[in-house]
């Protein structure tokens, strides 16, 4: 019983000290310090470390110099990324388009050597990793935007035509989607129209351009079935 009494007395003493506002400023300072350290650590963990875990990287089969090619071809992006006769978009070129020029090595770079040795002579398609591949449920019509709305490739794809080498392909470990869809900024902020490719970005641009469909009976806005499949 005596020990319990002692403890009770100690608590009462502490209370008394608090009430007087005496010597506890040091302890309070530590609490604030630890809070700041913990806060900073969780911020670093959330904003810097977590994205490293969330995204995995792959290298392209070999580095591609867009800037060099745009200078050589006559028709800009559409020289290689063209529309087929049925209105579909060809996307990343097949080997057949490349070999129209690259039957033999056309330069002395290491990448050119890989390309010719590994793919052209063996007649294998290059397994390019597509940075802007949308999820499977999305239907995107290139022709409606490029031919119909006369939009520029840069608006969505950025200045990829000026790149001199292929950056690593980053993809979300959980969803498998390319990081270009969510955007580089983990918080989702964007400065340029090509920073992200989420549905919100489609909607934002459509709103700014004043293109409003009212075909949906449920929402009296855009019907889902226009861009989803």
């Amino acid at each position: 019983m005596s020990t319990l009494d002692d403890k009770a007395k100690g608590v009462m003493d502490d209370d008394a000290a608090h009430a007087e506002g005496g010597e506890d400023t040091g302890a309070g300072g530590f609490i604030i310090l630890f809070f700041i350290i913990g806060f900073a650590a969780s911020m670093v963990l959330g904003w810097v470390v977590f994205p490293q875990f969330l995204y995995s990287q792959k290298q392209q089969p070999f580095s591609f110099n867009h800037a060099l090619h745009v200078g050589e071809v006559g028709d800009g992006c559409e020289s290689c990324h063209f529309f087929r006769e049925d209105g579909s978009f060809s996307g990343i070129p097949k080997l057949a388009q490349c070999t129209e020029c690259h039957e033999e090595p056309m330069g002395e770079t290491e990448d050119e050597a890989i390309f010719v040795e590994q793919y052209v002579t063996r007649d294998r398609e290059v397994p390019w990793l597509s940075y802007s591949r949308q999820p499977d449920c999305v239907f995107f019509s290139h022709v409606a935007h490029v031919v119909g709305a006369k939009m520029d490739c840069v608006t969505c794809h950025g200045h990829i035509g000026e790149s001199e080498s292929s950056r690593p392909y980053e993809y979300n470990r959980v969803t498998g989607y390319s990081r270009d869809i969510w955007g580089k900024n983990i918080a989702g902020f964007k400065r340029n129209s090509w920073d992200r490719m989420k549905m919100d970005d489609c909607a934002q641009c459509h709103k700014e351009a004043g293109i409003i469909h009212t075909s949906s009976v449920q929402t009296e806005r855009d019907a889902c079935f226009v861009c989803h499949k």
Partner: protein, 275 residues
């Protein structure tokens, strides 16, 4: 400046299925399965859990030989318009996963929005909607044969016939390339229409007098789009679901099978819809 995009006059895609031509061969079902990446199971005999967007039903007049007659009835989604696009399934969907498009008249189903409550299945009087009880399992190597234009469904969502909407999207792509805004009749046809060897299915825009389906059906907008063709009827027409799939038959017992007629009631008479 805000403006509503200039649209063509609203279309209303629909079908006319001639039951006197249908032989019940099932080619439409097969074409639909492969076109739309419809999952199947090892045992497809349990029709409560198997999925078939297009189903062929067998009807009989119930008479003894030699008066026995049978008729095959292919049943896709009826793409009901209801009143102002409020089809039974669209009205009950709490997730905006199914919707009626005023532009095409197609009842859509967005699998990534659907959370599988199955209200729509309860609401649909035609049993045209199916629930995915399992994730699709394709035989080895078959994934490479799936259509890239149709998104395969996951477990826990409802799916149904879309009038091959992806074909409309592709046809619109081609129209854009040619600087056109309308899709020609021949450019957008469903897989079942093209597969039918008897030519029993006619597909097109019911609003467009140039389209064959309009000429066959001749819908009467003052009578809830009832067909002016005496051979034509719709399934459960008196419910007021206002479907866009019309059936044709010269046989009275077949037309009678399209609705729950009482003994004294005559076919082809649509009672006034209360609304």
């Amino acid at each position: 400046m805000k403006h509503e995009q200039q649209h063509n006059p609203p279309m209303k895609y629909g079908m006319a299925i001639d039951l006197d031509k249908c032989t019940g061969c099932g080619a439409c079902m097969v074409a639909c399965m492969s076109e739309n990446n419809i999952p199947f199971r090892e045992d497809e005999s349990d029709k409560l859990v198997s999925i078939s967007w297009m189903s062929v039903f067998k009807l009989t007049n119930g008479k003894a030989f030699p008066d026995t007659e049978i008729c095959y009835l292919p049943r896709p989604c009826q793409h009901c318009e209801g009143h102002g696009g409020h089809s039974p399934c669209v009205s009950v969907c709490p997730a905006t996963a199914t919707d009626y498009s005023a532009e095409t008249g197609i009842v859509s189903q967005i699998y990534t929005r659907c959370f599988g409550c199955r209200y729509c299945m309860g609401a649909c009087p035609y049993h045209a909607r199916y629930f995915n009880w399992w994730d699709p399992v394709w035989p080895e190597g078959m994934e490479k044969y799936l259509s890239p234009n149709v998104s395969p469904r996951m477990r826990g969502v409802v799916e149904k016939c879309s009038f091959c909407f992806h074909r409309y999207q592709l046809a619109k792509n081609k129209a854009y390339l040619n600087d056109e805004r309308t899709v020609p009749e021949a450019a957008y046809q469903t897989a079942c229409t093209q597969a039918c060897p008897a030519g029993a299915i006619v597909f097109g825009d019911l609003n467009n007098p140039a389209h064959q389906v309009h000429q066959i059906v001749k819908p009467d907008p003052r009578k809830g789009n009832k067909s002016r063709n005496p051979r034509a009827f719709r399934l459960l027409e008196r419910l007021g679901t206002n479907p866009k799939v019309y059936y044709l038959s010269s046989r009275e017992w077949v037309r009678r099978a399209g609705d729950n007629y009482l003994a004294h009631e005559k076919t082809g008479q649509v009672s006034n819809v209360h609304h």
